[in-house]
């Protein structure tokens, strides 16, 4: 009933409206407030960090480089912490390493997840059972727990190592998402048609299925980036992970262990909290917009 009315208006639509793929994507991006606002938030944050770090001496992030516990002033725009680190320097030098953890883990997780999900969903059978069972297990085990165990044995780690450890658990979500989509795409009638056109299984997976997964892969990627940053800050708050390179989790951890809240030093815990909120909300907006792009049904009800 509802479905018929929808298709009936659709079938009537035979007027051509040719448009380029790239320009269509750009137009969609700009026309969607969630996408443009989300991207804008990330770009502003990253711009602040990159431009700031170019004109701010990295040495100011060292312990004792400034007076202790100074509130924001002209000289120290964001004040200093209890061991004499310039908060502004910490922020501008700390935002992009946090993003880097997210990006490395996100890319690794998404690539592995896409490959495994596509293989599982398209081939089905035993391969699918093995991959999806394993993904289910990894999803069940709270990754933070294993990260804690792993990180506690490794102690002093780098940004890159942390990212790789997180990626060990970041693939399971994308695998499940991509698998379920590949599973349904595999049943679409264009697959037998491709077989009749002489395309082999590998070619069908790459050329017929994969392009249709792109919005899901993108949404999954953004979700993984945000999940990885969340996890990295989480383990740093527990006192693990990379504590030597400035990054948001490390600043938040030192503010927490230094009892910044208790001492009323809002300039200490505030900036990393705000930066993280901007980051997470920005990524969230992008990911729900991509989700709506992948599931057009969600679009109509947005208001």
């Amino acid at each position: 009933m509802a479905a018929t009315t929808a298709t009936s208006t659709e079938t009537v639509e035979v007027e051509p409206k040719p448009q380029g793929r790239i320009s269509g994507i750009i137009r969609y991006w700009l026309g969607n407030w969630k996408l443009s606002l989300g991207t804008g938030m990330i770009v502003v944050l990253l711009g602040f960090s990159v431009i700031g770090s170019l004109q701010t001496d990295f040495k100011k992030t060292r312990v004792g480089s400034s007076p202790f516990s100074v509130p924001p002033s002209a000289e120290y725009p964001l004040g200093t912490d209890n061991v004499g680190r310039d908060m502004y320097a910490l922020m501008v030098h700390g935002i992009h390493p946090s993003l880097k953890i997210g990006l490395i883990a996100g890319i690794l997780g998404t690539v592995i997840g896409t490959v495994l999900g596509l293989v599982a969903g398209y081939s089905g059978g035993l391969v699918d059972t093995v991959i999806s069972t394993f993904a289910d297990i990894v999803l069940t085990i709270p990754s933070l727990m294993i990260l804690v165990v792993l990180a506690s044995y490794l102690r002093s780690t780098t940004i890159e190592l942390t990212a790789i450890i997180i990626a060990v658990f970041a693939w399971a979500g994308p695998t499940r998402l991509i698998r379920s989509q590949a599973l349904s795409l595999r049943e679409r009638p264009f697959v037998p048609l491709a077989k009749l056109s002489g395309q082999g299984d590998f070619e069908i997976a790459i050329r017929q299925i994969l392009p249709n997964l792109l919005p899901y892969i993108m949404a999954g990627f953004v979700g993984s980036v945000s999940g990885a940053i969340l996890a990295s800050v989480g383990i740093q708050l527990l006192g693990l992970g990379p504590l030597l390179t400035p990054n948001l989790g490390m600043v938040l951890n030192s503010a927490f262990t230094g009892a910044a809240l208790f001492r009323g030093m809002w300039w200490w815990w505030g900036p990393p909290a705000v930066a993280l909120i901007v980051l997470f909300v920005g990524l969230f907006l992008i990911s729900i917009a991509l989700d709506e792009f992948a599931n057009p049904r969600l679009r109509g009800e947005a208001k």
């Binding site: 035979v14 040719p18 009638p189 056109s197 249709n212």
Partner: protein
């Protein structure tokens, strides 16, 4: 050598790990398409009759449980690379859903370019464009209205005609058309079926027309197989079977078809056969026995063989065994 032959084909799906009931989706099916003169063969049946299973077997998408499918005398599962390549090119298909067969990611041109590339049908872009346009014209479409569009910008009838053009482009010998018009509006069905008949005659292409709709089958085909639960109930010349059905199942089927004429209204009231408990299919006897008005004790005991009931008409029913010689049972 015949073009296409199917011998004793049986397909049983799955083997339940815990539940062990499996019925044959297709049971001992045989058929021959000579190929010297093109013909349109209808496989008719309702849902669950096994007609789609047959289509998938014939196209090589499913492997048979037993039996074999021969293309140009060669078992399609034992072909060499080059033989398989020829088989792929020469046996093509048109599917039911004229929208789903398109990958929404690509423009419709991709449908042509893929086959041209895969089967090396053209040496240059210009040549590829030319043969594509030619194929579109054969099915009555104007190339400049079609090429460069995305599938959702075209109507159902246009999409299905593009599918015919695509199949035609490969110069196949056999096209398996699986419910090609069931999702097309009534006023356009006729045009699609006309194209079938036209390319059959002009380009020597045979069709396997798979449908639940006997009226369209009657319009275009030469012979017919009536399937019920995986088995052939009646087969032979289409005119004979439609005008003078012999098997009780075929009779029921034809009597149930609503005739678009208010003067010839349904007679007799059908009791809802599905309302009762799920039917138990006898695994030894005739599959139609549980619904058959003429059922006899031996129908459930042993599978009836085929009896010849007219010159080119065979029915798998004991009703025609009464005289011993099936030929005489003709009405």
């Amino acid at each position: 050598m015949s073009l296409f032959e199917v011998k004793n084909l049986t397909k049983i799906y799955g083997s339940g790990f815990i539940t062990k009931t499996h019925a044959a989706a297709l049971d001992n099916f045989s058929m021959l398409i000579e190929g010297q003169t093109p013909q349109i063969t209808t496989i008719a049946g309702e849902s669950g009759s096994g007609k789609t299973t047959l289509a998938n077997l014939v196209l090589g998408f499913l492997s048979p449980t037993t039996g074999e499918i021969l293309y140009r005398g060669k078992n399609i599962w034992k072909m060499s690379r080059s033989e398989r390549f020829t088989f792929r090119r020469e046996v093509q298909a048109i599917f039911q859903d004229p929208y789903g067969t398109y990958n929404p990611f690509y423009r419709v041109d991709t449908v042509f370019n893929t086959v041209i590339g895969k089967f090396k049908l053209a040496h240059s872009r210009a040549e590829a464009r030319k043969i594509t346009e030619n194929a579109l014209e054969v099915v009555g479409l104007r190339p400049n209205e079609i090429l460069g569009k995305f599938p959702h910008q075209l109507s159902g009838g246009q999409r299905q005609r593009i599918m015919i053009a695509r199949a035609f482009l490969l110069k196949p010998r056999l096209i398996v058309a699986d419910e090609p018009v069931s999702m097309i509006d009534a006023s356009l069905q006729g045009r699609i079926l006309d194209i079938f008949q036209q390319i059959k005659a002009d380009f020597n292409i045979s069709f396997l027309y798979i449908t639940h709709d006997l009226s369209t089958a009657y319009q275009i085909s030469d012979d017919i197989f009536v399937l019920y639960r995986g088995s052939v109930m009646e087969r032979g010349d289409i005119d004979g079977i439609i005008q003078n059905p012999q098997h009780p199942y075929t009779q029921l089927l034809i009597n149930s078809i609503p005739v678009p004429d208010p003067d010839i209204r349904w007679e007799g009231r059908l009791k809802s056969s599905t309302a009762g408990k799920p039917q138990t299919i006898s695994d030894t006897g005739c599959k139609f026995a549980s619904r058959c008005p003429h059922v006899m004790p031996r129908c459930v005991e042993k599978l009836p063989p085929e009896y010849q009931v007219a010159q080119n008409q065979f029915a798998a029913c004991y009703l025609y065994d009464s005289v011993g010689d099936g030929m005489k049972a003709k009405t």
